[in-house]
C-alpha cells in the first residue's frame, strides 16, 4: 500500500508479453495480436480482412495459425498474444489451412487479371503465389455477379472479384463515420451493396479502393489509366489542406497518375481524403513554363533583369510602398528565401499572406481541415512574430493607393475584382507562380516556379510538424523551384542570397527560426527512384 504523500512510486508492472512464434521469441506490448507479433519477427502470416487501421473481424480465415493448447486453428488477427504462448505458422496444418482458404477464395474468382486494375498490386495474387501455387480443381461454372456497379461518384464495384473481406464496410463505418456499404445476399452469392438510401459519397470513399485486397473496388479517376507496376513512387505531403497527410506520388514519365496515403501514426494514420487525392490534377492545368514580360515569353535573364529593375525602382522611390505576398501553398524554404530577400536585402516590411480562403464546411474531426492551404503554419513560423495581413487587407491597401509594387509568391491570391484591377495596373507586379491563373495572368513579369510535386522542401502542418516533400520529377519547361528564382532575382538586383542548394536554405532556416530549432533532422534522407512493386521486388 503506497503512501499517497510519497512522490516516488514503485515501478508499474511491465505491459509486455513474451511469446514464441516458429521457435523464435518476441516481446510485444500487451494487447497485440499474434499477426502483429509475427510481423515483428519478419514472419508474414497471410491475411485479407485484417488491417492495422481497422477493427478486427476475422471473416476471411486466411490468417489461421496453430497455437499450442488450442484444439482448432486460431485466427492470428483476433488472437491476442499472451505470455508463454507458442505459435506455429509454418507447420503442415497451418499451411494446409492457408492453401485451402486460398482455394475457396479463388473458386469463384473471375479470370480477370489482364483487365483488372489491381493486377500487380493485388493481395490475392501475391498470397496465392507465395502460399499456394496449386492447380485449379474446379470443374463447374463460377458464380456470376454484376461487374460494373456504380457505387458512388468515385467508385465502381466489380462484384465478381470481391472476396467478401468487408474491409470497405469497415472503412466507411470507422474512418468516415458513415454507414454507406453493406453486404447483401448470402453464401457465395454475397455482394457488396450500398446501404438503403445511401451511396458511397463520403469524403473518404477512395480509401476503400486502397484497402480492397483485390480489384473489386476501383476509383473512376485511376481505373484503366496505368498499370501499377510501371509506376514510380515518391514520398511527399498532400497539398490539399493544413493537415498535411503523408502521401506517395505514383508517377511515370513525368506525369502523376495517382496519390495514395502513406502511413504516419502522428498525422493521418493510414488514410487520406478524396479531395487530397485529386490535387494532382492541378499539376497539369495551366502551368507556366516560361518567364513572361507583359504576357510575352522572355528569357530568364531578361525577365529577372526586368523584374529586378522594377523592384529596385519601386524601393528607391518609396520603400514602404513595396508589398511582398507570401504563399501558404509554397514550401518553407521558398517563403524563407523571400523573407530574407525582402527583410535583409531590400529592407521592406509590408508583408501579406496569400493563399486560398478557408472552407469551414470541410472541417471534420477526422482528417480534413478548414484551411485548404498546406503551409500556413509554416509561413507563420518563417515570418516569426510579424503580423500576417491577408488578402482583404491587401485589397484595402491597394484601394487606398498605398502600394506601388508587389512581389507575389504563388498565384492563389483571393482578391476581389476591383483590387485585382488595381494590382494589374501597378507598374511593378512580379509574380512567382506555377500556374498562369489568378494574379499571375495580370503580372508585369511572371516567373514560372515548380509545383509541390516537383520540389524538395518542407511544409509545416497544422500540428506544427515539419514534413518533407520529395520531388517526383523535374518541373516542366523552364520552371525552377521558387527559392531558386528568388535567389536569382536577388542576384539580378545586386544582393546575393548565396543559396546553391535547397538544403542550405533549410539549414539556415532551422538555425534562425525559433520554433524550428533542433528540427534539422526533419530533412530526412534523400530517396532514389523506386518503382512500385509488390512482393519483395524493387524497381
Amino acid at each position: 500500500m503506497s503512501d499517497p504523500n510519497q512522490t516516488t512510486q514503485t515501478p508499474a508492472a511491465p505491459a509486455t508479453v513474451t511469446l514464441t512464434i516458429d521457435g523464435k521469441q518476441v516481446t510485444v506490448p500487451k494487447g497485440t495480436n499474434v499477426i502483429e507479433a509475427a510481423k515483428k519477427l519478419g514472419i508474414e502470416v497471410s491475411a485479407f480482412c485484417y488491417h492495422p487501421g481497422l477493427s478486427v473481424v476475422a471473416v476471411c480465415r486466411q490468417c489461421l495459425v496453430k497455437v499450442e493448447g488450442q484444439p482448432k486453428l486460431q485466427p492470428s488477427c483476433q488472437a491476442i498474444a499472451t505470455d508463454g504462448m507458442v505459435v506455429h505458422t509454418a507447420d503442415d496444418w497451418s499451411r494446409g489451412a492457408r492453401r485451402q482458404m486460398l482455394e475457396f477464395t479463388l473458386v469463384n474468382h473471375p479470370v480477370d487479371c489482364p483487365i483488372c486494375d489491381k493486377a500487380g498490386e493485388c493481395t490475392l495474387q501475391q498470397l496465392y503465389f507465395e502460399h499456394d501455387n496449386e492447380a485449379s480443381r474446379l470443374d463447374v461454372p463460377k458464380v456470376r455477379k454484376p461487374k460494373v456497379v456504380d457505387l458512388g461518384p468515385h467508385i465502381v464495384l466489380d462484384a465478381e472479384r470481391c472476396i467478401l473481406c468487408t474491409r470497405c464496410i469497415r472503412v466507411c463505418d470507422e474512418v468516415a463515420g458513415q454507414h454507406q456499404l453493406e453486404m447483401k445476399n448470402r453464401g457465395d452469392h454475397e455482394e457488396i451493396a450500398t446501404a438503403p438510401g445511401a451511396e458511397l459519397d463520403n469524403p473518404y470513399a477512395i480509401n476503400t479502393v486502397d484497402v480492397c485486397p483485390v480489384g473489386a473496388l476501383t476509383a473512376k479517376d485511376f481505373r484503366f489509366t496505368m498499370r501499377a507496376w510501371e509506376l514510380m513512387t515518391t514520398p511527399s505531403v498532400c497539398p490539399g489542406c493544413a493537415t498535411g497527410c503523408n502521401i506517395e506520388i505514383h508517377h511515370k514519365n513525368e506525369r502523376v497518375w495517382r496519390l495514395v496515403p502513406r502511413h504516419n501514426p502522428e498525422v493521418n494514420g493510414h488514410w487520406m481524403c478524396d479531395e487530397g487525392r485529386f490535387t494532382y490534377h492541378r499539376l497539369r492545368t495551366r502551368r507556366m513554363v516560361a518567364p513572361t514580360i507583359n504576357g510575352l515569353p522572355a528569357r530568364w535573364d531578361e525577365a529577372l533583369g526586368h523584374a529586378a529593375r522594377l523592384m529596385a525602382a519601386a524601393i528607391q522611390h518609396n520603400r514602404d510602398s513595396v508589398g511582398i505576398v507570401f504563399s501558404p501553398q509554397h514550401t518553407n524554404e521558398d517563403n524563407w528565401a523571400l523573407a530574407r530577400l525582402a527583410r535583409e536585402m531590400w529592407g521592406v516590411g509590408r508583408f501579406y499572406v496569400g493563399g486560398k480562403g478557408p472552407v469551414p464546411e470541410r472541417a471534420d474531426k477526422i482528417l480534413r481541415d478548414a484551411d485548404i492551404n498546406p503551409n500556413r503554419r509554416g509561413v507563420k513560423q518563417v515570418l516569426g512574430d510579424l503580423t500576417l495581413a491577408g488578402a482583404q487587407v491587401l485589397g484595402e491597401d491597394l484601394a487606398q493607393g498605398e502600394i506601388k509594387a508587389l512581389l507575389v509568391l504563388g498565384h492563389d491570391l483571393e482578391l476581389g475584382p476591383e483590387p485585382m484591377e488595381r494590382a494589374a495596373m501597378l507598374d511593378a507586379l512580379v509574380v512567382i507562380a506555377d500556374s498562369e491563373a489568378g494574379i499571375a495572368a495580370r503580372a508585369r513579369v511572371a516567373l514560372p516556379s515548380a509545383a509541390w510535386a516537383e520540389v524538395a522542401g518542407t511544409m509545416t502542418n497544422r500540428q506544427g510538424l515539419v514534413q518533407r516533400l520529395h520531388p517526383a520529377f523535374a518541373p516542366p519547361g523552364q520552371a525552377l523551384p521558387a527559392w531558386e528564382i528568388i535567389t536569382r532575382l536577388g542576384q539580378a538586383a545586386g544582393s546575393a542570397l548565396g543559396y546553391g542548394h535547397v538544403r542550405q536554405v533549410f539549414d539556415e532556416m532551422v538555425g534562425k527560426v525559433g520554433e524550428l530549432q533542433g528540427q534539422a533532422a526533419r530533412w530526412g534522407r534523400e530517396t532514389r527512384p523506386i518503382q512500385l512493386r509488390f512482393a519483395n521486388s524493387r524497381g
Binding site: L106, V111, C113, Q126, Y128, F129, A135, W229, F534, S537
Partner: protein, 413 residues
C-alpha cells in the same frame, strides 16, 4: 634509269642516292575500322606502321556497346534471355545456356533441370558452336581472298539456322532456353532432319578442307602468322580454340562438365604453335567433334519434361493460364515480378564458341538481378591482338583478327 629514280624518290637528286642506304621513312598512323570489311562487328585499330609493318597498335573496342549489364539490372531474369541472345549473336544458344546455368546455380536448380532439357540444351549449344566456327572460318577465308569456302560454309550455316528456326521461331535471336529448362520440346522430325544435315555438313567440310588445307596461298598467309606461346596465352586470359591452338588443353566441357557433357564421348583438339593456321585447324576439328557429340546426343536423348516442375520457376501451360484463375495469377506474377531468386552471388561458365563464357550474377532476393556480368571471351581474346600483330605486316592483321573470332556483340556487350 635515272629519270625513273627521280620520279620515284620525289625531289631527291639522283646523285644523293646510295642504293645500299635505307630509304627515308617515317612512321604513319593509319586507322583500321570501325567501318571496315575485315573488322568484324566494329572494332577500331589505330595502327602505327612503318611502311607495311606494324610498329604499334591500339585496339579500340566499344563501338557496339549496348549496355547489356545496365539493362539486365532493370529486367526480370526471363527478360534477360533476349539480351543474352545478342551477345555472341553467331552462337546465341550457348549464351542462353550459360546465363540460365548461373541463375539456376543461385536457385539451387542445377540438378533439377530435367535430363531431356539438358540434352536439348547440349544439342542446341553444339549446333550453335558449329554455326560459330562455320562463320569464323568462312569469313576469315573470304578476307584472305577465298570466296568459295565462305559461300559453302554460309550455306551450311543456313541449313542449321533453318532447323533452329523451326525449333524456336527465330533464325538468330532464339531466346529458347528458360530458367529450369527450355521453352518447348524438339519438333517431331528434328532427329531426322538433324541427322541428314550433319551428313551434309560433313560433306561440305570435306570440300572446304580440300580447298584450303593444302592451298599454298592460304597456308602462307596463315602459317607462322601470329604465334603465341602457351604461357603468354594463359597470362592474357585466352581461352577457347585460340588457347587450345597454343597447346593448352583447357575445355570447360571436359574440365568442369556441365549439363550432360560427361555422358558424351568427344576429344579436344589441341594445336602446337598457336598461330592462325593452328587455330583454323582446331576449329575445323572442333566442328567434327561437335557433329560427333550431336549424333550421340540424338541417339541417347530420353523422353520427359523439358522444364523443371517448380511452379515458382516455370510458367503454367497456356491452356490453364487462360482458363483458370490460379494459373493466370501464377503467370502474372512470373511476368510482372520475375522469378524470385534468393540473395547470393554465383558464377557459372560454359564453353562458348570463343572460349570460356561465364555469367556472374548477383541476386538480391527480387525478380531482377542486382548485377549480371558477362565474362565475354571475345573481349579478353581481343586484347591479345595488339600484342600479336606487332611486327607483322598490315595484311597479317586480317588473318590474325579473323582467327581471334571477335564477335562485336560479345566483345562490347
Amino acid at each position: 634509269m635515272a629519270e625513273i629514280k627521280k620520279l620515284v624518290l620525289g625531289r631527291k637528286v639522283v646523285e644523293d642516292l646510295d642504293e645500299d642506304q635505307e630509304l627515308p621513312h617515317e612512321l604513319m598512323t593509319v586507322n583500321m575500322g570501325p567501318s571496315h570489311p575485315a573488322m568484324h562487328g566494329t572494332v577500331r585499330i589505330v595502327l602505327t606502321v612503318d611502311g607495311e609493318r606494324v610498329v604499334e597498335s591500339d585496339v579500340q573496342p566499344g563501338f557496339l556497346h549496348r549496355c547489356f549489364e545496365k539493362e539486365s539490372e532493370y529486367a526480370t531474369y526471363t527478360q534477360i534471355f533476349p539480351y543474352t541472345d545478342r551477345l555472341n549473336y553467331i552462337s546465341p544458344m550457348i549464351n542462353n545456356v550459360g546465363y540460365a546455368m548461373a541463375v539456376e546455380k543461385l536457385l539451387g536448380l542445377t540438378d533439377a533441370v530435367p535430363v531431356r532439357a539438358q540434352y536439348i540444351r547440349v544439342i542446341v549449344s553444339e549446333i550453335s558452336r558449329i554455326t560459330d566456327h562455320l562463320t569464323c572460318v568462312g569469313a576469315s577465308a573470304m578476307e584472305l581472298g577465298a570466296f568459295t569456302p565462305f559461300l559453302y560454309f554460309l550455306k551450311a550455316r543456313e541449313w542449321l539456322f533453318e532447323l533452329l528456326e523451326e525449333l524456336s521461331g527465330a533464325r538468330l535471336t532464339y531466346s529458347y532456353v528458360r530458367i529450369g529448362g527450355v521453352v518447348s520440346d524438339l519438333t517431331p522430325d528434328f532427329n531426322q532432319r538433324l541427322t541428314d544435315l550433319l551428313d551434309k555438313i560433313d560433306g561440305v567440310m570435306l570440300e572446304v578442307e580440300g580447298l584450303l588445307n593444302n592451298n599454298r596461298i592460304f597456308r602462307d598467309r596463315m602459317e607462322g602468322v601470329g604465334p603465341f606461346s602457351a604461357a603468354e596465352a594463359l597470362s592474357f586470359g585466352l581461352t577457347g580454340p585460340c588457347l587450345r591452338a597454343c597447346g593448352v588443353d583447357y575445355d570447360v566441357r571436359k574440365d568442369n562438365p556441365y549439363l550432360v557433357y560427361d555422358r558424351l564421348e568427344f576429344d579436344v583438339p589441341v594445336g602446337t604453335a598457336g598461330d592462325c593456321f593452328d587455330r583454323y585447324l582446331v576449329r575445323l576439328e572442333e566442328m567434327r567433334q561437335s557433329i560427333r557429340m550431336l549424333r550421340q546426343a540424338m541417339r541417347d536423348i530420353p523422353a520427359g519434361p523439358v522444364i523443371v516442375d517448380d511452379p515458382r520457376v516455370a510458367l503454367p501451360p497456356k491452356k490453364e493460364a487462360y482458363n483458370t484463375i490460379e494459373a493466370m495469377i501464377r503467370h502474372f506474377k512470373h511476368i510482372v515480378d520475375g522469378i524470385r531468386v534468393p540473395p547470393g552471388e554465383a558464377y557459372a561458365w560454359c564453353e562458348g564458341g570463343n572460349g570460356e563464357l561465364g555469367f556472374f550474377v548477383v541476386a538480391d532476393g527480387t525478380g531482377r538481378p542486382w548485377k549480371c556480368y558477362c565474362r565475354s571471351p571475345s573481349l579478353i581474346n581481343t586484347q591479345t591482338v595488339s600484342k600479336t600483330i606487332q611486327g607483322h605486316l598490315i595484311s597479317d592483321v586480317v588473318p590474325i583478327f579473323g582467327m581471334i573470332n571477335m564477335i562485336g556483340g560479345e566483345c562490347d556487350k
